[in-house]
């Protein structure tokens, strides 16, 4: 019973850690140049800046009903308005 438990726990940890390693290798192999370190590009945890986010949302909205349902389009439009408001708050004059 103890062995079974130990194997089970060991497998769980192995599974999670292997998963992480596999993902990392899939995104950045040793054979490729590490653009993240070299030029701050294509980093694994890279996120959109506020302008890029607005551009991407706008691009998706323009795909229209061919790709999205009216409800999804409405949601994307709300997210764009939300992001525009965030930029407005950031650049608000005064104290």
């Amino acid at each position: 019973m103890r062995r079974v438990m130990l194997v089970l726990i060991g497998s769980l940890f192995l599974a999670t850690s292997t998963g992480t390693v596999t993902t990392a290798f899939a995104q950045q192999t040793q054979a490729e140049k590490n653009e993240c370190l070299l030029a701050s590009k294509n980093c694994k945890d890279q996120v959109d800046d506020i302008y890029k986010r607005m551009q991407r949302l706008d691009k998706e909205i323009k795909k229209g009903t061919k790709v999205y349902t009216p409800q999804e389009l409405k949601r994307l439009q709300e997210k764009l308005a939300e992001t525009q408001q965030t930029l407005k708050d950031l650049e608000k004059p005064g104290h």
Binding site: M5, D49, Y51, K92, H95
Partner: protein, 453 residues
């Protein structure tokens, strides 16, 4: 089962729980922010909130300042997030400890521009929870949050602690809000049995706002704002704060506004009426109206904006002056001015010829502004002109505040970074004749770097 087996079983269950709980705990981390550098060569700005100088032989000087804002949003899902927003302001070289012309973020030595930096400059702007209620379907914002009136910020635009609920019903969007922007409860002195706890001497703002989208081009709005200010009641005591903000006890403000698109033109008219009680003997009856607009023309667009705030120049009967909360929490950004109105690009130094007080100490003002803005590839530019006057004569019988002309040209170095230069000049009106008869016309040159992410 032995103790060891129980422990192993517990460990296995814990590991499984942790593994399955990870996806549910996942957060979307959003980081945003901005940085601005501003350099000014000017004979008029004093730095901070101190109003634009109108004085004889005003000396010209160069100063520089910077601002960073950092926003972190912890998003659990589309229906729940925590928004935090911070600000760091600095004048190059720092602000003298005793200089009263700084403001809360930078004075009293709290300025990292001083030699060897290391000052406490982090200001909290917003910390609030933003969530959609699964029961009511309404969106709630709870905490310290930004709020702006529907009247181009002529009444109030500020970060305040409160609760704001918004619910959409097809084309109608209704909002209900409560903000407590002052809780001046005096410290409880030893042996003092008259004082009470927090929440007794307060100033509150109640907001009821409705917007109805008539069609995709026209949205009509109506609002009711109510300010109940009990802090004035404490001003007679020795332990209480003596400054009452705002300077009235009760205010009701009702108004209408619209956002209308006609082809290439967008027009936003507004009008509001205020009534209430200045104190137990004097009532308030005031109003404001105006409009802003933008029309596409050639490679850019023509902007225009105008407003009127009612005024009063006698101290008898009802007060007819338009009321705000404080001058420092009002704006008219659509003016696109640098000196007549506080600039909409301003950072630490954010002031105007009337010290941001568009009521001109109760006289009321009228402002008329127009300009042109456009872009050519990575270049952007604008030029503007504006005129302001008081609506009631000052003690010397004068009304004209001045006429400003300004222009700005900039270049987008990257998607997120732009550099620009601007110049502004004001031909002073006779409003200043009595206090500064030989005042030099104020001017400024501005150089700016602006980054947002």
């Amino acid at each position: 089962m032995s103790f060891q087996k129980k422990l192993l079983a517990f460990a296995a269950v814990s590991a499984l729980s942790a593994a399955t709980a990870v996806p549910a705990m996942a957060l979307e981390n959003e980081f945003h922010g901005m940085f601005k550098f501003m350099g000014y060569q000017t004979n008029a700005l004093q730095g901070g909130d101190a109003k634009v100088l109108a004085s004889d032989d005003a000396r010209s000087g160069f100063f520089a300042e910077q601002r960073a804002r950092i926003m972190y949003i912890a998003k659990a899902n589309d229906n729940l997030k925590l928004v935090t927003h911070f600000e760091l302001d600095t004048r190059f070289g720092g602000i003298k400890v005793t200089d009263g012309k700084g403001y809360k973020g930078t004075y009293n030595g709290n300025d990292s521009g001083n030699l060897d930096a290391d000052a406490l400059t982090l200001e909290t702007k917003n910390v609030y929870l933003d969530f959609n209620c699964p029961i009511t379907g309404a969106n709630f914002k709870v905490g310290s949050q930004p709020w702006t009136d529907a009247y181009q910020s002529l009444f109030l635009s500020a970060d305040m602690t409160g609760v704001y609920a918004t619910k959409k019903y097809d084309a109608f969007t209704g909002s209900l809000g409560w903000f407590r922007f002052d809780d001046n409860t005096p410290a409880i002195a030893a042996g003092d049995t008259t004082n009470v706890g927090a929440g007794k001497y307060t100033a509150d703002l109640i907001v009821v706002d409705g917007k109805y989208a008539l069609n995709k081009d026209i949205t009509l709005g109506a609002s009711y704002y109510n300010i109940q200010n009990d802090t004035a009641l404490t001003s007679a005591t020795t332990t209480a704060p003596t400054v009452s903000i705002p300077n009235y006890e009760l205010l009701h403000m009702i108004g209408l506004n619209a956002d209308m698109k006609f082809g290439d033109a967008v027009v936003k008219p507004f009008a509001a009426y205020q009534f209430g009680e200045k104190n137990s003997t004097t009532d308030i009856s005031a109003y404001a109206f105006g409009a802003t607009g933008k029309v596409k023309a050639g490679p850019g667009s023509v902007n225009f904006a105008a407003y009127y705030l009612s005024g009063d120049n006698n101290n008898t009967g009802d007060v007819k002056s338009f009321q705000t909360v404080t001058a420092g929490t009002t704006y008219f950004n659509a003016a696109n001015m640098w000196l007549l109105q506080r600039p909409n690009q301003a950072i630490n130094t954010s002031t105007s010829l009337v010290g941001n007080d568009n009521t001109a100490k109760g006289l009321g003002t009228t402002g008329v502004f127009a300009g042109y803005e456009g872009t050519m590839d990575k270049v952007f530019y604008n030029a503007n002109a504006g005129y302001m006057m008081t609506n009631k004569k000052n003690a010397a019988g004068d009304k004209s505040i001045g006429t400003e002309i300004n222009a700005q040209v900039g270049y987008k170095l990257y998607d997120n970074l732009s550099a620009s230069v601007a110049g502004a000049y004001v031909f002073l009106g006779n409003y200043f004749d009595a206090t500064a008869p030989d005042a030099d016309n104020p001017y400024l040159f501005n150089v700016q770097l602006s980054y947002a992410f």
